[in-house]
């Protein structure tokens, strides 16, 4: 390996948090990749010994972008320990609050984090380049500005029913602290209508229902309207489907748990089939992490950093595995596990599949949110009281914008005895495990083209960003 050229790519900007990727290059392609999350804060250790309810305040602060997902997971974990589930309307309002954050994340990822890479000078000769620059040039592009304004409007909903965002406090194990009044419901519906207008005029250039009804890859590639159309034109030109292909094993914990079932169904997708995931078969491997201890299920896991940063390990990130193998998580995983025909056709795909999965989910979630807002009943009970046990345990499994997020909590003597978190990017950007099997991003990077003289290969940028990484969540 000593004569293999090595490349260290990072820090990545327009990525939430810090990230470094080490690449071995052979014959103009990535031969092997090692992903390092260089930021560690130790949230799990801070939680130990505290009152269990404090997890509702501390864990959202792991991440300012997906703080509601952390709230939702903490609330569910505490609820599981208390034997408490939210009231029906509480669950629906919690789902709406969570969905607002998730669609905001998708919108920002597309406009501010992912698309600006196509305005790099290396693409100047492409026919779509001037349009990409006009729409997506960082800081100055029209699309980014419109998206920020639309998102700020949508987030008025979070203000109304959740008090503030980021770091909302309203989600509790028994529901939501806020009972929305009739006026709030009206305002929520108005904001949703305005957001739909943004999606239909800017992002999709047509009715959301039409995009959500796309049922095949060829139908998708014919969509030529809005920024989605521009992306698909670029994707076809650069063959983004072939770039950074996934291993085809996907996980979803199920998004938006409601009384009548999940908004998007849970499941494990492998070899073209969906099965119920065995949550007891989740384990975190530490062989290549600067962490001490052995492989363990998160109920039994510990987070003890190896301050010697031992040889052989290369990341602060643990390597979570389901039934011994890595899984890819995110919008594409959710949509294909939910059985959407377009997503099913995109299974195993690369950059195109991940970004298209996100756009599909953006359209479908807006439709869900409108239905929930319609069904809100101001006279209903939105919160149920419960009592924390002296001893107990509970898992909170939710779907953040970027994929499956789990909190595993153990309570002893009325205090938190252990708290373990596996975030979406922990799954996607995990290092190798003891068998040497690379994590999903590491695997997806293999084969990415590296042009001579490129010290920050644009193909690597596209692949990394197609996962929409959230590094602050990865190692918390």
């Amino acid at each position: 390996m000593s004569d293999t050229p090595r490349l260290v790519v990072g820090p990545f900007n327009r990525v939430e948090g810090d990230l470094e990727v080490h690449l071995d290059i052979s014959e103009g392609r990535v031969a092997a990749a090692r992903v390092n999350a260089p930021l560690y804060r130790g949230f799990e250790r801070m939680l130990e010994g505290r009152a269990p309810g404090d997890a509702l305040t501390l864990t959202p602060r792991i991440c300012g972008i997906c703080s509601i997902s952390q709230s939702a997971a903490a609330a569910r974990a505490l609820g599981a320990a208390m034997g408490l589930v939210p009231t029906d309307q509480g669950a629906m309002l919690a789902a709406l609050i969570h969905a607002v954050e998730n669609v905001s994340d998708h919108l920002v990822h597309f406009n501010l984090f992912f698309m600006p890479d196509f305005t790099r000078p290396c693409y100047a000769a492409r026919p779509w380049y001037p349009r990409a620059v006009a729409r997506f040039a960082a800081i100055e592009g029209q699309a980014a500005r419109a998206a920020i304004a639309a998102r700020a409007g949508l987030m008025h909903i979070l203000g109304l029913v959740a008090g503030k965002w980021p770091h909302t406090l309203a989600l509790q194990p028994g529901g939501v602290t806020r009972t929305p009044g009739a006026r709030d419901v009206l305002r929520i519906q108005t904001e949703l209508r305005m957001f739909r207008k943004h999606l239909e005029t800017q992002v999709f250039g047509g009715p959301l229902e039409d995009f959500a009804a796309l049922d095949s890859r060829s139908a998708l590639m014919r969509w030529d309207r809005g920024d989605a159309g521009l992306f698909l034109e670029i994707a076809a030109d650069l063959d983004l489907d072939a770039l950074g292909r996934g291993a085809g094993r996907y996980l979803s914990f199920g998004a938006y748990p409601l009384a009548e079932g999940h908004g998007f169904a849970p499941g494990l997708w492998q070899a073209g089939e969906v099965t119920a995931p065995n949550m007891a078969a989740i384990a975190e491997d530490l062989s290549h992490s600067w962490m001490l201890g052995g492989m363990a299920h998160p109920f039994d896991g510990v987070t003890r950093p190896d301050e010697t940063m031992r040889e052989g390990a290369y990341s602060w990130c643990k390597a979570p595995r389901l039934e011994g193998a890595p899984v890819e998580v995110g919008a594409l995983a959710r949509q294909l596990i939910d059985g959407h025909p377009l997503a099913v056709q995109l299974a195993g795909g690369g950059v195109l599949a991940r970004v298209a999965g996100r756009l599909l989910e953006l359209a479908r979630t807006q439709i869900l949110m409108e239905a929930w807002a319609e069904a809100l009943d101001p006279g209903a009970v939105f919160m149920r009281q419960g009592n924390l046990p002296e001893t107990g345990e509970g898992a909170g499994l939710v779907e953040a914008a970027r994929g499956s997020l789990g909190h595993w909590l153990r309570i002893e003597g009325g205090k938190i005895a252990s708290y373990q978190i596996i975030a979406p990017t922990t799954w996607n950007f995990s290092p190798r495990d003891a068998q040497g099997v690379p994590g999903p991003l590491e695997a997806a990077l293999v084969g990415a083209p590296v042009e001579p003289g490129e010290d920050s290969p644009v193909s690597v940028q596209h692949i990394v960003r197609s996962f929409d990484p959230c590094m602050v969540c990865t190692v918390h």
């Binding site: 820090p11 810090d18 560690y40 501010l112 203000g159 109304l160 980021p166």
Partner: protein, 358 residues
């Protein structure tokens, strides 16, 4: 320095009309609590003064401050954020990546040496020689020291940079340390909160850019215009507190009626911030309005004061707001704040003067 544009140039270049610009000036004056007579002053400053460059760096944090900032409902917020301030370097929002980004960083701090405002989000962890937060292959604390050298002033955004925030919570595994304990030779303004309110952030930065000095600070180094009153002082549920009407359980009738959340652990009575007046997400609400008590996220050490749901036991109740002692303290506080503010202005002025001479 004559090649630096004015704010007005930048705004015009972004296609902002004169009318919108004037509206921005008057709304800014109002937001900062200044009278209409300040409007022409703000307009003139923006038309004639060279744009003050802002360098925005991120340490150990969650980016919630940036997230709050770009959602500001402040007039022309998206333009304020994306053009007027023209963040010359920002880890999260900028276009460049990797080595190009590091080069842009070096170029920016060299070009505007002594003249830029350094905005810090997050804080440096000092344990293990800073290895828990590495950017560009170096500990963040080195980048911070390096960037601070040429800054004329520093803004500590949020509870992380100001006080440490939750990542400094016991046992503080990474020894996360607030900015003012690492950088001791620069004027620092603290804008605490987790995150701070967007309008407070844009208000503070607009004030500094417009008047080229720090706003009046309190004893803790916070801008007095936003942090001089407690949440409790202007809370819309205050009448229920005074009347002794409290929420006892999350699901009780009192919760639905919107009674006071003091017994649910609300920290409003001891928290200085503008939440109950400016409110959040475009002024629509704030945590207490959503039915959850304040957790005091703009106060030093809020993360290690017992459970967030424990009731405060040290406050006076039912109208007994002040004792003779307390009034004395307040007076001292005011004098202290005035001195601190004056000192800060002087340092800024000095730094500037030196720069002009150079």
């Amino acid at each position: 320095m004559s090649d630096i544009e004015t704010f007005y140039d930048v705004m015009r270049r972004q296609g902002i009309t004169r009318r919108s610009f004037m509206k921005f000036c008057s709304l800014t004056a109002a937001a900062l609590g200044l009278g209409p007579s300040f409007v022409p002053q703000i307009a003139e400053a923006m038309e004639t003064k060279p744009r003050t460059p802002v360098v925005w760096v991120h340490g150990l944090e969650c980016t919630c401050c940036s997230e709050s900032f770009i959602r500001s409902a402040h007039p022309l917020a998206k333009d304020v954020v994306l053009s007027m301030i023209s963040l010359d370097y920002d880890d999260t929002l900028m276009a460049a990546a990797g080595h190009a980004a590091e080069a842009a960083f070096e170029e920016t701090i060299e070009k505007y040496k002594g003249n830029y405002i350094l905005a810090v989000e997050g804080n440096p962890p000092l344990n293990e020689d800073g290895m828990f937060c590495i950017t560009g292959g170096k500990p963040f604390v080195e980048k911070l020291r390096h960037a601070a050298e040429g800054a004329k002033a520093i803004i500590s955004w949020g509870a992380c940079a100001s006080y440490g925030c939750v990542q400094a919570a016991a046992p503080n595994p990474t020894q996360a340390t607030p900015v003012h304990k690492v950088i001791t030779d620069k004027p620092i303004i603290k804008v605490p909160g987790c995150p701070p309110i967007a309008e407070v952030m844009t208000g503070v930065i607009t004030y500094m850019l417009t008047f080229d000095r720090m706003p009046e600070l309190d004893r803790q180094g916070r801008p007095a215009m936003f942090y001089s009153q407690r949440i409790h002082d202007k809370c819309y549920r205050r009448p229920h507190f005074d009347a002794g009407q409290f929420v006892e359980h999350w699901d009780d009738e009192n919760a639905r009626k919107g009674y006071c959340l003091y017994k649910m652990g609300c920290k409003g009575p001891t928290t200085y911030n503008a939440c109950s007046t400016v409110r959040w997400n475009g002024g629509v609400s704030f945590p207490i309005q959503s039915g959850h008590g304040c957790i005091g996220c703009s106060e030093d050490g809020f993360w290690d004061q017992g459970s967030f749901y424990d009731r405060l036991t040290t406050i006076k109740q039912f109208g007994i707001e002040a004792t003779a002692d307390k009034i004395g303290w307040t007076a001292t506080g005011l004098v202290g704040a005035a001195v601190a503010a004056h000192a800060a202005v002087s340092v800024l002025k000095r730094a500037q003067k030196k720069n002009e001479e150079a």
